[in-house]
Symmetry: C2
Subunit: 408 residues, 2 copies
């Protein structure tokens, strides 16, 4: 059940995102183009990167109920879904919203412009054959996308049976996910080395991780406490945050509980989890803003370095020699830029990588400093972004306050 305030939140959040996109296109993209940002760092942002829904990835050993959880969340089966007692799901499946039910093969999905999966090409055709889109109309999928993954197998099997690097793929998705849910079977908890490896693949994303202790209705209360404690004990050793990992306990499917004694607990837990999921769209907006800020700071420094190098090039003779000298002298060049423009050292690119890249360039073709583009960029950081942050819905905002913000 969605309240007025929630609906207003959602509308507000998507307005913020589309404003962010406009800012990028009008003020950041021209700057990125002038100084060839993609050559030095990463491709220009596409629409799909702004418009993509928050992504929730499900991971865990086989048969813990990942696929069943998605089905439960959606209220019905999704195209291509396979549920069963053996290791069942054999592919990474992104479950996304769309007008009609269908599956999209991985090769096609990765190049589709409206979804942000282009980067998966690097894992090769073996992986893309095990990658699939599952499209269906769903009110849940209007807010978030879900990523189902194959169950984690024991170490050797993992490597032999899959034709691609499972852990690297999980890492790729983890970086882009807004939430990572690790499922466990309370009935046969097994925090094996392999799962620890998978959790290592989630390193650096500790704050995105939640756990589900599933099938918890199959054991009695005391055993449940022990299993729950054992899970937190072990996870505490591999996850470094001091903040306690959230573990939701319950049985996430539509069948009746096998053991009723924890019914109320499970209901409260499910409630909490759903609230957690409901926060995602807003958090996702904050994350997108943050990432754009990081990107702009890098672009700004790039602009200063490039134009600084350019400004020292002779107009006629000895270009090649000068260019070599400048590359040799790059640490000093960085330092003078830092002083002259008052830049943060943390925003500078890796020296060696940058040297490599520069060797393939012609400095004389570099663009000069554009004070107007630079001041546009500065304004984005000092004015536009803070305004967007203010416009983001606040937990406590009522529908009316939101509408006011929205109108502003």
């Amino acid at each position: 059940v969605e309240s007025d305030a929630e609906a207003a939140h959602a509308a507000q959040t998507s307005t913020v995102i589309s404003k962010l996109q406009k800012i990028y296109k009008s003020k950041v993209l021209p700057f990125e183009k002038r100084y060839n940002y993609p050559y030095f760092f990463s491709p220009h942002l596409t629409d799909s990167e702004f418009l993509s829904k928050p992504q929730v990835m499900l991971v865990g050993q086989y048969s813990v109920g990942k696929t069943t959880f998605i089905k439960y969340l959606l209220g019905r089966s999704f195209p291509g879904q396979r549920i069963g007692p053996e290791p069942t799901t054999d592919r990474f499946t992104v479950v996304i919203n769309g007008p009609e039910e269908r599956t999209i093969p991985g090769n096609a999905l990765s190049v589709h412009p409206s979804v942000p999966y282009r980067g998966l090409e690097r894992f090769g055709v073996n992986f893309l054959n095990r990658f699939e889109g599952s499209v269906m109309p769903s009110s849940v999928l209007q807010k978030i996308s879900l990523i189902d993954t194959p169950g984690i197998l024991a170490g050797e099997k993992q490597r032999l049976e899959r034709g691609y690097d499972f852990t690297e793929v999980v890492k790729w998705f983890a970086e882009r996910a807004d939430l990572i849910i690790v499922l466990f079977d309370a009935h046969k908890l097994d925090i094996s080395d392999e799962l620890k490896n998978a959790i290592d693949a989630l390193k650096g994303h500790d704050e995105k991780i939640r756990c589900i202790l599933n099938k918890a209705d199959q054991i009695d209360r005391q055993r449940l406490m022990r299993v729950y404690g054992a899970l937190l004990w072990s996870m505490g050793k591999v996850i470094s945050t001091p903040e306690v990992l959230k573990v939701y306990v319950g049985s996430f499917w539509s069948e009746p509980l096998q053991n009723q004694e924890n019914k109320e607990l499970f209901e409260a837990e499910e409630n909490d989890l759903m609230n957690d999921l409901r926060q995602l769209p807003k958090q996702s907006a904050v994350r997108k803003i943050n990432e754009l800020v990081k990107r702009i700071r890098k672009a700004r420094v790039l602009g200063y370095i490039i134009s600084h190098l350019r400004s020292q090039m002779p107009s006629m003779m000895g270009k090649e020699k000068k260019q070599k000298q400048l590359i040799e002298d790059l640490p000093n060049q960085f330092r003078s830029c830092m002083k002259k423009y008052n830049l943060a050292s943390g925003d500078f690119p890796d020296l060696e990588m940058f040297k490599e890249k520069l060797r393939e360039c012609k400095f004389s073709e570099f663009k000069t400093l554009s004070t107007s583009l630079m001041s546009d960029l500065d304004k984005v950081l000092s004015k536009d972004i803070p305004a967007l942050m203010d416009a983001l819905p606040n937990e406590n905002d009522s529908a009316e306050v939101l509408n006011m913000k929205f109108a502003a």
Copy 2:
């Protein structure tokens, strides 16, 4: 309620211990005396060290219910007991069995021959004034002794308000305890830095540590799960064993539960804890045997070294010079002993400490190798001790089997 088998277990265990004591006195002590073991290592073992009950130490922040737990376990108040909402217990209290109720001041208690607290003298009179014995007749205290401790205070207070090194005292007891119970208040769980320090003081005794999450009836089931999880999460980070820490959840006093919903869980937990305590006498026997074995191995090596050094002394002239040379050459002396008598390097004393000690000795007064004493000692390790281990009661032994073993 004590079963026949349990009573037989207890009798069997104490028989084993008194046999151990006899072995020590007849075969180990003469050896220790011949080679002056106390000078190089630690005092001869006293009767109290054999006969002392398994010790259970209670630690935790103030007001978590340590003193109340002891009262609950004993079924009634103990002499000198103080319970209250402020930081209440201001001393280390050992609660021990005795024919009539009384307290014994710390200074007297530390020198009392029937209890193993002599070593506490090192913490000075400031500590001994805050040390007390509480004696009462109790069936529980016939099996174990309990150590109540002052609540752990916040860092600065700890140092300023106590006139002794609290952490070092905790360490001293931890080394000698058979079980260390760390109590927490479920109602206001606070795993502060100070408590972490205290837990650091318990380092190296991880396998002795149990936790009690007390007053658990004051919160609802979902909060209890969270608190329990948070406790294991945090403890997992400070305790290094992979084996999950045992945490017993409940309300350990005789008042009725405030919240009945977890009644059965708490009963099951209390049962488990009592079983854990019931195992102590037997475990304690194993621990005593183990420690004696370690001691004998050290004594054996000491005997070989001392007699080896003695054997190289001139009978008339140049004693001092030779002694200096031997000390200089101690690493080689160790090596030749190791080869000659086939000794394990791990049983050798610390080289520097040993050199220091030797400088104060007259090698010419050292005793020669006594093959009869040495062969007695070897027999203790190869025959007597294994026989004692076999005689220890087994979990699954019935009363009859135990009586047979006992008779043997």
